[in-house]
Amino acid sequence: MRKIFRLFPRFRVGLFVPAAALVIALFSGAGCAVVPPASDPEAFAEFREVNDPAEPLNRAIFEFNRGLDTAFLKPVAKAYRDILPPFVQDRFKHALANLRSPIIFINDLLQGELDRAIATLVRFMINSTWGLLGLNDLATDMGMEGHDEDFGQTLAVWGAGEGPYLMLPLFGPSNPRDTIGLVVDYLINPFNLWAANTDRDFAVFARTGTRAVDMRATHMEALDDLEKSSLDFYASIRSLYRQRRLGEVSNGDPSANSPAPGLSQAPRQ
């Protein structure tokens, strides 16, 4: 075990997140949703489709996260979006994306996507050198667009189901599969290993913080719109998270088979 800690100095911290998730899972017994009776098969089917057995607890954590967001993240993201010129914001976006490249590369390989892995590697080499430490995304200009991957998606490709919906404190919407993915990505990320080995913990916090602000700013309008128009913001976010993860796992190739309205459903007039 000591050897593992030496090899992965962040392992101690990394253990905290699954431990916390476990505690949540145990305590969620107290915050369980009411299971509909077997006499109502449609309601039971709906309960399984919603797949959120810890809904009351998840809702409480969601409100906690929203409070933090209103107090800290949203105002900072707003300032970032409104004060920094789009050119500077793009530099941040490119640099953050470039720093993610190693973890994307590893997950590309783990998913057996060799051509995507090579593309990620070539992009990383081009953008880190000629792109001036990733500040410029020259690879995209050359016709090599980037993509994102994470270990949660790798687990999905390997056949792991998502499991029940889970709202994590700070990290937001998730599920057991993506929570494990989050931890594994954190542990094997070369950037984090480098920072830990050279006593530069601040670098990890700075990067994570900047990424959170940038992502919040990117989704600001969409989230504001959704909050404004939805009747149950929590349920809308839950649906949105699942749909987006599904899209990401399938690498943005949407299935035509997903349920959608059809003209044949039109009520007869």
Binding site: V50, P86, D90, M142, S239, R244, A256, P261, A266
Partner: protein, 223 residues
């Protein structure tokens, strides 16, 4: 799309440009129906930008214009029915009628303000795909000030009538999130909280649409 990554540089060569120019009159692979669907989305987005993005138009007038566009080009009843899911069968005739009216209201008043931001940005049609004989997916991109453009998919339903072909939008999928599926989860959750009653959803919809119609009273996000 992604496996073509290494072919992308080819797209920039003069030979390719020439080849495209020669074949522009007839895009390879796309059938007549797919082209029609792409044209339908293209002209709809132009219509929307022209009538909805003028700052000087009063909000009331914009709402009226958007309501016309929405009813003309979206399969409002089909979407509304899909969104209600299994609860549609439970609803009485009066409830269905009021629900559809409120659903239309909600869509119109919550989407109308979003167009203000898109002034000057033109929707770019990337590709089309026929899902079956009556549905075409139109893939499009909307540019943003910073960062990557937004991916928007339009599910277009094609209805063949004696007078020709009628096209209606069945669903809009923004960055992988379907409008109708998100609404279905939203409404379904409200109905569950209201002991499975559609009348509970109708009450909430009345409150929500009333608040959105008077943005001065409700919270509005400043952009």
């Amino acid at each position: 799309m992604l496996s073509k990554r290494f072919l992308r540089p080819v797209f920039r060569t003069p030979v390719f440009v020439l080849a495209v120019a020669l074949s522009l009159s007839k895009p390879a692979g796309a059938t007549g129906l797919e082209e029609d669907a792409a044209d339908f989305i293209r002209s709809l987005s132009q219509d929307a930008i022209e009538s909805l993005t003028r700052k000087e138009t009063a909000r009331e007038a914009r709402i009226g214009k958007f309501r016309d566009l929405f009813n003309k080009h979206f399969a409002v009843k089909s979407i509304g029915r899909f969104v209600l899911g299994r609860n549609w069968r439970k609803a009485t005739k009066d409830e269905r009628a009021e629900y559809l009216k409120l659903f239309e209201d909600l869509m119109v008043v919550s989407y109308v303000d979003r167009f203000k931001r898109y002034a000057g940005d033109n929707l770019e049609i990337a590709k089309t795909r026929a899902e079956n004989e009556t549905t075409v997916t139109v893939f499009s991109l909307l540019p943003r000030d910073a960062g990557k453009p937004v991916n928007i998919l339009w599910r277009v339903g094609v209805l063949k009538k004696s007078g020709g072909v009628v096209m209606k939008i069945l669903d809009v999928v923004v960055e992988g999130a379907s409008m109708s599926q998100t609404l279905r989860s939203d409404f379904g959750s409200i109905i569950r909280q209201r002991d499975g009653k559609v009348s509970g959803l109708i009450e909430e919809l009345r409150l929500k649409t009333a608040a959105l119609k008077n943005p001065d009273k409700a919270e509005t996000s400043k952009n």
